[in-house]
Amino acid sequence: MYSMLIKLELKQMLRSRWMQLVGVLFTFVFTAIIVIQQMALPDVEGFTRQTASFLNVLLFLLPLFILTIGSMSVAGDVESGWFSLLKTYPMTRKQYIAGKYIASVIAFLLVVVVAFGVILALGGFLGGVRLPFIFIILTLLCILIFVSLAIAVGAFAKTRLFALSLSLVFWSIFLLLISYALMAIGTVVAGHVLQKLTIIAIHINPVEWLRFGYFIFTDQASVLGPAFYKITQFYSSPLGYAVYVAVTLLWIICPLAYARLLLTSFSERS
């Protein structure tokens, strides 16, 4: 029953015109930016405009697509009554959420693999592009974290339209508003206060968490500036790596647990 659900969910996801369009759009934008920049700029190590573009395209597009599609998938199930029908089968909420999670992760992995494949093929034809291993890991983490968040948003929204708008709100908060708020606060508070607030923001914002991880795991923490020397030193140690893994797991588990709680209370109410 459980594997049936995963297959069914995956099939629905892959059949969705939205998902197919997202796949094409993601592949096109990603490939265009990476290949054009690779051809136009010299090959150098370190954090450059090229790696910044790569990272930003990843952090801009992937969370947006995952949050909207993932949340609407769950909210759609509730809205259409499919979730109520599933309750009549011998399947727990936990299994439903896990099935949804696994199917969504696989679907988005396929989108990303298509995009990376096209980048490599086209890049290879044009002389070779660099697709650093850390970007692949970061993409995987991005999918794992944001699918989990999308399921929580969908479970909270319960209607497709609300899920869509809520996803956009979360996306803009994570991508832009927290950073802008910090920058605005920085104009009226002392540097050390801003530094502490930024460290908090790194931990409570999954986008910043992934970006921070990129700098740590590529050994380019100096890009963040001397004000963050201590925290980057900590996260560059074995204990820091362990904490990074633990916090990442929390980012995956907590939204799923919250979604389960929401769906259980919804089931009980209805």
Partner: protein, 423 residues
Amino acid sequence: MRKIGFALLFFLFMSQTVYADFDVQEAINVAKPGDVVHIPAGRYQGDFIVTKPITLQGEEGTKLAGVKNNPALRIENTANVTVENITLSGKNKAIVASTVDGLELRNIQIKDMHTGVHIQRSKNVHIHDINVTGSEGHYAKKGNGVAIFKSEDITIEGNTIEQVQDGIYVEEVKHIVVQHNKVTNSRYGTHFMYTSDAKALFNTYVHNVTGLMIMMTTDILLERNTIANHFDFNGYGMLLYDVQQAKIKDNTIKNNRTGIAMQKSSTIQIEANDFQMNQTAIEGSKASEDTMASSNNFTGNILTARSDPQGFQLVNNYYDDYSGIDLKDNGIGDTPYVAVSSFGQWMVRQPVYQYFVASPSVMLLTSLDQQINKTEKNILVDKTPKLAVKQVSEKNKINVVQMLVGLFLTLSSLWLWKRGISQ
């Protein structure tokens, strides 16, 4: 068998500490002015001192070792001394020259010492083709590769220096030329302090904290140097602090945290340099009004320029992110290039903002800035941005393996997608 082994070990151990019979100091003492003292191959330990105009000439395998913390070789109160083909070792300084008029040091190897060459109150000094390798450890515990104090008419060329505090340290020197040197993995590549009439030409500075550190110096020319990969915390390609009259020309400044930083400096000309892939290409703070960056190429830098409200002039540079057009077809963009960005200005005022460099929010902000700041007339505006520039080397050879892997990934994932739908 074991006895033979012990004997061999004993022999090997002793061979490290056995010193040659030739008496170097005695040979120096008996030499007449103008003589060449030839030192045969061998290891000589002592606190050697030269006080007369002679040439000390070693051969392959000639090694001088210092005693305790004393320099291995001192040259004092004399003129026209040449030292060549020698390897030096010890704990503290390898060569110390004081009050010498006419000194040439060439083909000298220095390894694992605190300081390589220390020159003070001397003139007409020529140091070339020496090799200094410092020990492992923090820069604070190391000395400099070549250090010159209170001297004049100095030429330092063709040397290779690595793992020291400052590759070449220059303090209170008049008329110095530093050229064709290579300094890597050190704190500063070359460090000028209180110096006047200086030139740094054709040097290569790679992977130091800062390539060129110039402080309280007047009249300096920095030309055709390659300065790359200084991206550590507080790393700069070049940092000019309280410098007057500097010309920075035809250098390649690549992949640094900040390419050139000017603080409290005046009359700085930055001309025809290649700035590639730096996080910030040029940063100015309290730079004088006549400070100007002209005819440079800016390619792939995250931030082209940032400054305090004083700013500096940008004239006729090429910018790869310039989006204007040239209807007059004169090679100059019809609309000004505005390098100023809100984020860049904030970073100068509050360094903590550096955390957000090139983050999604800042990229969006910078894009908006480029629209809004088109009305900016005063700070960091190039009214004559150049359009034509030599192309980055082409990369058009097909990478077959990567192309096949890409095709395989694309086709197999599309097949999986189709299979997922149809099942």
